[in-house]
């Protein structure tokens, strides 16, 4: 069963909290994420993962008259935003929660776990029961 793990982060000064981090803290954070992805690949559970560009560039789009795009944003007042996601293929939901919990411990300043909120949602790809 596939799950999408969506990592949300609070906004800091400008877009990122990480703008205030020391280079070593930032490096440790990146290394943690790379290690997580490496482990998911070697366990055969990795389907995909992407980080998203900062919300300062985000636009909300709706179709206007004639279907032409009408854009809105960016929204500097947004407190929390989606930083990135993983899609994993695991044999039970609890395993997806474990992976999310590990991602949530990604280190921040001083190596302290950030405890970021990870929303876990099942991907609609389950087999149907026989009708």
């Amino acid at each position: 069963m596939k799950f999408m793990l969506m990592m949300h982060a609070p906004r800091g000064t400008g877009d990122y909290q990480i703008n205030n981090w020391t280079p070593d803290d930032f490096k440790a954070h990146i290394a943690f994420m790379q290690g997580l992805n490496r482990d998911l690949k070697s366990s055969g559970e990795f389907v995909g993962a992407e980080g998203l560009a900062p919300p300062g560039q985000a636009r909300v789009v709706r179709a206007g008259k004639d279907g032409t795009p009408v854009t809105d944003g960016p929204f500097p007042e947004t407190k929390e935003f989606l930083v990135g996601y993983w899609i994993v293929d695991v044999d039970r939901a609890e395993r997806a929660y474990e992976i999310a919990a590990r991602a949530s411990t990604a280190p921040g300043p001083g190596g302290k776990p950030l405890n970021l909120a990870i929303e876990v949602r099942q991907v609609m790809s389950a087999p149907l029961p026989d009708a």
Binding site: M1, K2, K41, S42, S43, G44, E45, F46, V47, G48, D89, D91, Q122, V123, M124, S125, A126, P127, L128, P129, D130, A131
Partner: protein, 424 residues
């Protein structure tokens, strides 16, 4: 066979290799014990065969040919490794030498088709998670490429390659010998293999995910492998039962989805689209198994599928007989999904209230409490009872929790049809 075209000859070679590959792999792994190395060696032997046989002709003993080439490759690899492995090399080389001089009667000497069976048992090893067992079975026994398996399950090829390689390591680390199960193990091993084949079939038959062509290939592959099993264990009622269940289910494939891929439930299917040939084969298989006095979960499920398939119209379905079979099934398993189907059959025979009462009871079972299928069935039974409001409520509750898009769409459509009609 003098004037066979190149294309046909290639097809014949390919088909023969598909059939022989698991047997050769079983034989090599049985001697070498390193599943990964054995598989690599067999792959190389298969490649050599593809390169040579179409032009040079198929050897008299194709299986012995593949076996010997694979064993030689194993010896070559062992030889090229470090001194630490010299001992293994000697053993492997010696074994390869044995086979170089062996008589053509390799089949008899090595136990022949049993090797496929041992391989199936290994791939369904209890230490493996179902996704790993499925992947390994498709790779090692089915001969699908890693890319094909990855594409069927919509994961990157590298991920699938890792899953397969970890599965092999798990088997190796478990230290269980590569051999036929003894009498005490046999039933459990067999059950595990049949379960893996059943899961492969379901992935192909029932899934909404992925490329339809690849998905249905999985069902065909499951059927092919179950046929191989049946060839190996012709007297096993459950093997026959599983094959019958697959055939009787697959027979409805064309009727199961509408023009836009939407789900068509059994009672609304165009039965003229059902494959009568598969139905008669499945019915014959399950009838023979049951008349031999054997009984098992797959045989009973196949018997129920046969009753559905033999009804010319939905309203002709012999529900009392289906109910009786579900009663037998319930005595053999405490699977709550069987209990749910039993509740449906009860409703069809004794009315929706009787079915709903059983579901209320079932809802106290922690394993299924809150499962969307309980709500889906309740929706149907309330609709049957004429209570549209409650039916809509349960269809919506089910639609919110299913993880399948076609099923969600189906449930929402069901609810919408029951809604008070808007102005025409």
């Amino acid at each position: 066979m003098t004037s066979v075209g190149t294309g046909e000859r290639d097809d014949a070679v390919e088909q023969l290799l598909r059939e022989l590959a698991p047997r050769v792999l079983g034989a090599v792994a049985r001697r070498n014990h390193d599943f990964g190395a054995a598989e690599d060696a067999v792959q190389e032997a298969l490649i050599a065969a593809v390169a040579q046989w179409p032009a040079a002709g198929i050897p008299d003993n194709p299986r012995g040919w593949l076996y010997q080439v694979a064993m030689r490759r194993l010896a070559d690899h062992a030889r090229s490794e470090s001194a630490r492995r010299r001992r293994e090399e000697a053993v492997a080389a010696e074994r390869a030498a044995d086979w170089d001089t062996a008589s053509p009667g390799v089949d008899e000497a090595e136990g022949g088709e049993d090797d496929t069976l041992v391989l199936l048992f290994m791939c369904a090893h209890p230490a493996l998670t179902p996704p790993s067992a499925i992947a390994l079975t498709l790779r090692a026994v089915g001969g699908l490429t890693t890319a094909e398996i990855a594409s069927a399950f919509l994961v990157p090829e590298a991920t699938m390659a890792q899953r397969i390689s970890r599965a092999k390591q798990t088997i190796k680390a478990s230290g269980i010998p590569f051999r036929m199960p003894d009498d005490t193990e046999r039933a459990g091993w067999l059950r595990a293999v049949l379960h893996v084949l059943y899961l492969i079939f379901n992935e192909g038959y029932a899934s909404s995910a992925g490329d339809t062509v690849h998905r249905s290939d999985l069902s065909n592959e499951a059927i092919r492998l179950t046929r191989v099993m049946r060839g190996l264990l012709p007297d096993d009622g459950e093997v026959a039962g599983l094959l019958a269940l697959m055939l009787l289910t697959d027979a409805r494939r064309a009727a199961r989805t509408g023009a836009d891929g939407e789900l068509v439930p059994l009672d609304e299917q165009d039965r003229s689209l059902w494959d009568q040939q598969l139905i008669s084969e499945g019915v014959a298989l399950v009838s023979r198994a049951l008349s031999n006095g054997s009984i098992g979960l797959y045989q009973l499920q196949a018997a129920i599928a046969a009753i559905h398939d033999e009804a010319p119209r939905a309203e002709d379905t012999d529900w009392p007989q289906i109910l009786a079979f579900y009663g037998l099934l319930l005595r053999m398993t405490d699977n709550p999904m069987v209990a749910l189907s039993h509740a449906v059959a009860t409703a069809m025979v004794n009315g929706p209230e009787a079915g709903l009462a059983l579901i209320d009871e079932l809802a106290r079972d922690d394993r299924v409490a809150g499962h969307y299928r309980l709500d889906a069935v309740r929706g149907h039974l309330y609709a049957m009872a004429g209570d549209a409001r409650k039916a809509i409520e349960h269809f919506h509750a089910a639609a919110e929790r299913t993880a399948s898009i076609p099923e969600r769409d189906y449930l929402i459509t069901k609810a919408a049809r029951l809604s008070p009609s808007r102005d025409a």
